[in-house]
């Protein structure tokens, strides 16, 4: 039954189950848990409680309602688009995300397509720079590819390849969602020494494309396409090292 007893570490036990503890905190808790029957009981109960809640409790919108909202947003958005629209580069990714909603307005669709084609590289860099702000780097922080990959399930409509390249000294740090080119994309975060590498991926229209190196605002970018996935690596690493990362990624099964 439900433990009536209390231990002040019980909320930490829960935080660990929710993936909210970092490695050091989790290790410290593990030591405590070995000796605390209350926390062991709490862990068992919380696990059972979590198992009660299945994805089928999620309540999505009715199609008819979705259509209504799309129509309303389009109607509301179209007279409102000022010519400049304030597409400040820094906020472009979020703006693009919203753009999906408003894209029904024909004018905006055209605007977005053009911008997306011209600015994709800049968006990639902007996304990378934005992610370097404190607390914005990862939505899921884990060095385990089997934690990072499932995290994307249900968040995006494709399964991004997640590889651990720690053997090549590119350690996986986690992943997050970004908005690039008006669509949600998967971003994997790798690290070599003090340098962070963002790897963006989304389904591509062209199937294969060899790596191509670019530079923007002092960042190095490598773009290639593989097995129908467009991949963009961006980092402040030296071009040769970023290239090494890309080769390691491409070699890895």
């Amino acid at each position: 039954m439900i433990a009536a007893l209390k231990c002040d570490k019980m909320l930490l036990v829960q935080a660990e189950l929710d993936g909210e503890l970092d490695a050091a905190e989790a290790a410290a808790l593990a030591v405590h848990r070995q000796e605390c029957a209350i926390c062991q009981g709490a862990a068992a109960e919380l696990t059972r409680a979590r198992a009660l809640i299945g994805d089928d409790l999620y309540q999505p919108v009715r199609d008819e309602f979705r259509q209504r909202i799309i129509a309303q947003l389009a109607a509301a958005a179209s007279p409102r688009i000022p010519p400049s629209l304030g597409w400040r580069r820094r906020w472009w990714p979020s703006a693009a995300g919203f753009g999906i909603g408003a894209a029904c307005a024909a004018g905006l669709t055209a605007l977005m397509l053009t911008s997306a084609q011209i600015d994709l590289t800049e968006q990639i860099v902007a996304g990378h720079v934005r992610a370097l702000q404190p607390g914005h780097l990862e939505d899921v922080a884990s060095t385990d590819q089997h934690t990072v990959k499932p995290w994307f399930d249900g968040r995006i409509d494709f399964a991004p390849p997640v590889k651990d390249l720690v053997a090549e000294r590119f350690a996986l740090r986690g992943g997050r969602l970004d908005y690039i080119g008006g669509r949600p994309v998967a971003t994997l975060v790798y690290q070599r020494d003090k340098h962070l590498i963002d790897l963006y991926g989304w389904p591509a229209t062209d199937v294969e494309r060899s790596p191509e190196t670019m530079q923007r605002q002092g960042y190095n970018i490598v773009h290639w396409t593989r097995n129908g996935m467009a991949l963009w690596a961006v980092s402040d690493l030296e071009p040769s090292q970023l290239r090494e990362f890309v080769e390691a990624w491409r070699r890895s099964p």
Binding site: M1, I2, M10, L11, Q14, A15, D18, E20, E45, L46, R48, A49, R50, L52, I53, G54, D55, D56, L57, Y58, Q59, P60, V61, R62, F65, R66, R68, I69, I70, Q72, L73, A76, A77, R80, G86, W91, S94, A95, G97, F98, I100, G101, A102, R130, Q133, H136, D139, Y179, P184
Partner: protein, 166 residues
């Protein structure tokens, strides 16, 4: 915002406990989001939209004090336990039926939770948001988010055990 329409509705549906009321809230929230999007400076549009949804829900009359009488049986919408669900678990029809009953029971138990526990649980378990994001959306300290989540899960488990597994 459209990619987050399901998230918006899911939260509204659990908060309002009524599909028509939830659609009203979502509609209002989406238009509000459109209006204020230019001033949005954050990086997490989903959390931002959910905050708008929550505000809209709380200011709507029906949610005044988080107290609302919901007759048992009304909480599960007709058709929610779709025949598809039963068929999909094709290995054992009887297990599927038990499972479906269990889901319905859990749905009712969550619906019966006090609103502050319910929203925390939904944001964590169904939207899979971090404590920090939940704290921002509900404008609550993280410690409170953690204790609410704990209470919600405990109550759920307690009620599920008392309700019997028949």
């Amino acid at each position: 915002m459209l990619p987050h329409l399901d998230a918006a509705y899911n939260l509204a549906r659990w908060l309002m406990r009524d599909s028509a009321a939830a659609e009203d809230i979502v509609q209002e929230a989406m238009l509000r989001a459109l209006t204020y999007f230019a001033s949005f400076k954050g990086v997490n549009p989903r959390a931002w939209l959910l905050q708008i949804v929550r505000n809209a829900a709380y200011t709507s009359r029906n949610l005044n004090h988080g107290v609302q009488f919901v007759p048992i049986g009304e909480t599960a919408e007709p058709g929610i336990i779709a025949s598809d669900d039963l068929v999909s678990d094709a290995d054992d029809p009887e297990m599927a039926l038990i499972k479906a009953r269990g889901e319905r029971q859990v749905r009712e138990l969550i619906t019966a939770l006090p609103i502050e526990l319910r929203e925390t649980l939904i944001l964590r378990e169904l939207e899979e948001l971090s404590y920090k994001e939940i704290a921002e959306i509900t404008r609550t300290p993280i410690g409170t988010v953690m204790s609410r989540l704990f209470r919600a899960r405990r109550l759920l488990l307690q009620d599920a055990s008392e309700g019997g597994t028949s």
